[in-house]
């Protein structure tokens, strides 16, 4: 885990999968915290709660910028504190736009036009355009240096499955980063995963690490 995470360097853009308590690579985040790079840009749906996950990176002063859609889950105190003191940059992106920008990066597209946020404050300063009389906002691809994701089972080729709603941003983030590291509950032999049920093909994943049980699985 520690070795895998050592690829993250000061100033890197790091995507972190998960939604609420679901599908978060908590052990990789803890390994990242211990590794201790500075000036990170964190792209994730939420911003961690209490002292957990992304909140611990914010607490430890490792984060320069946060890009997310919903940083106000109950107990997101560290994001609030850093925001109020003005010590981080903060970019708010509607959830679907965030996911689609991540997918665009993974799929080699530069930008796209979405109707989401047209006519709202979140489209201010962005290019807009009418198609068939309807307003759309141009949004650009969002790339990362490293993606930290969580799967359920993984094999040595990097093929992954997920647990129920644990997919959320994980499959798209795997595509959008130069280096993707997946934390999984179980590592299986190559060929053991049903080829019809692989959700993230191994081509998108560089390193698969087994959860070490460092963190309470229900946290």
């Amino acid at each position: 885990m520690a070795e895998a995470i050592s690829v993250v360097k000061d100033g890197d853009v790091v995507m972190i999968g998960g939604f609420g308590s679901s599908g978060i690579p908590l052990e990789l985040i803890e390994a990242l915290r211990r590794h201790g790079p500075k000036d990170l840009t964190i792209i994730s749906n939420n911003a961690g709660v209490a002292e957990e996950g992304i909140a611990s990176l914010l607490r430890d002063g490792m984060v320069r910028k946060v890009v997310c859609s919903f940083p106000r889950s109950r107990g997101s105190v560290w994001l609030q504190r850093r925001f109020r003191e003005g010590s981080i940059e903060f970019e708010l992106v509607p959830q679907g736009t965030l996911g689609e920008r991540i997918r665009a990066a993974g799929a080699g597209l530069a930008a796209f036009y979405t109707p989401t946020a047209y006519g709202t404050r979140l489209a201010e300063g962005k290019e807009t355009r009418l198609f068939n009389g309807r307003g759309y906002v141009m949004e650009t691809a969002l790339h990362a240096d490293v993606a930290l994701i969580r799967g359920e089972k993984g094999d040595a080729w990097g093929n992954l499955t997920y647990n129920t709603a644990g997919r959320n941003f994980n499959p798209s983030m795997a595509m959008a980063a130069r280096i993707t590291i997946a934390e999984v509950k179980q590592i299986v032999e190559v060929g053991d995963l049903d080829p019809e049920s692989v959700v993230t093909p191994g081509i998108f994943v560089d390193t698969v690490v087994l959860q070490e049980g460092l963190i309470n699985a229900t946290a």
Binding site: V93, E100, T120, P171, A217
Partner: protein, 214 residues
């Protein structure tokens, strides 16, 4: 005036969820609508984090931390449901595949503008989640909210004062006082809660209401 309580409001929306509908229920009061949809109606609930066929809360001890809804509550999956990632989930929302979304709101305008994600308080980090995607994407967008704020200020206005979630996106408003339809001519009263008059409801509304159809 006669006011529906939360249950009454959720029950009223539930009446209008037809058999076979794909429905997204927003965080908070809208989530309760599912409790009152008649069991003989086959309704499939979507959760933005990647679920179709959301079922009730699990029995204590049966919670799966990965299996939550958009409000971060533990849920279950009904037979016939399935899981997918964020990209597919928001394709469903933005692409017009959901029949109905029910959202809460701070304010709604007479032209169907929705303000539900931010006040004018800039001291807190703003949060938007999937509300803007639902607003533009759902085929029918229903707002479920109290008619007025706690302080008695109208939430239904000629123009929203708070930042918009979407422009001209709301189809219908269900409040504790009335059911209103957004029409090209303005906000039309579809129903008044029994015992209330149009004049009474108009008095606590910040824009002109059109009388119910004859």
């Amino acid at each position: 005036m006669q006011r529906l309580d939360t249950e009454g409001m959720a029950r009223r929306v539930a009446q209008d969820i037809p058999d076979g509908a794909y429905v997204n229920l927003g965080i908070g009061m809208p989530t309760q609508v599912a409790n009152y949809v008649s069991g003989d109606r086959h309704v499939i609930y979507h959760s933005e984090n990647g679920i179709l066929g959301v079922g009730p809360a699990p029995a204590p001890g049966e919670e799966n931390p990965d299996l939550i809804n958009a409000g971060k509550q533990f849920v279950t999956l009904l037979p016939g449901g399935c899981y997918f990632d964020n990209a597919d989930s928001f394709a469903m929302m933005r692409g017009g595949h959901l029949d109905i979304a029910v959202l809460g709101a701070f304010q709604v305008s007479s032209t169907g503008d929705l303000a539900s994600w931010a006040t004018n308080d800039l001291s807190e980090p703003p949060a938007v989640g999937g509300a803007m995607d639902l607003a533009v994407g759902a085929r029918r967008l229903y707002v479920l909210m109290k008619h007025c704020t706690r302080d008695g200020e109208p939430k239904i206005l000629t123009e929203c004062e708070y930042p918009l979630t979407g422009k001209g996106v709301v189809d219908r408003i269900y409040t504790d006082l009335a059911v209103l339809e957004v029409t090209p001519r303005g906000l039309q009263v579809l129903e008044l809660v029994a015992g209330n008059t149009l004049a009474e409801v108009q008095a606590v509304t910040g824009t002109r209401l059109l009388p119910p159809p004859a």
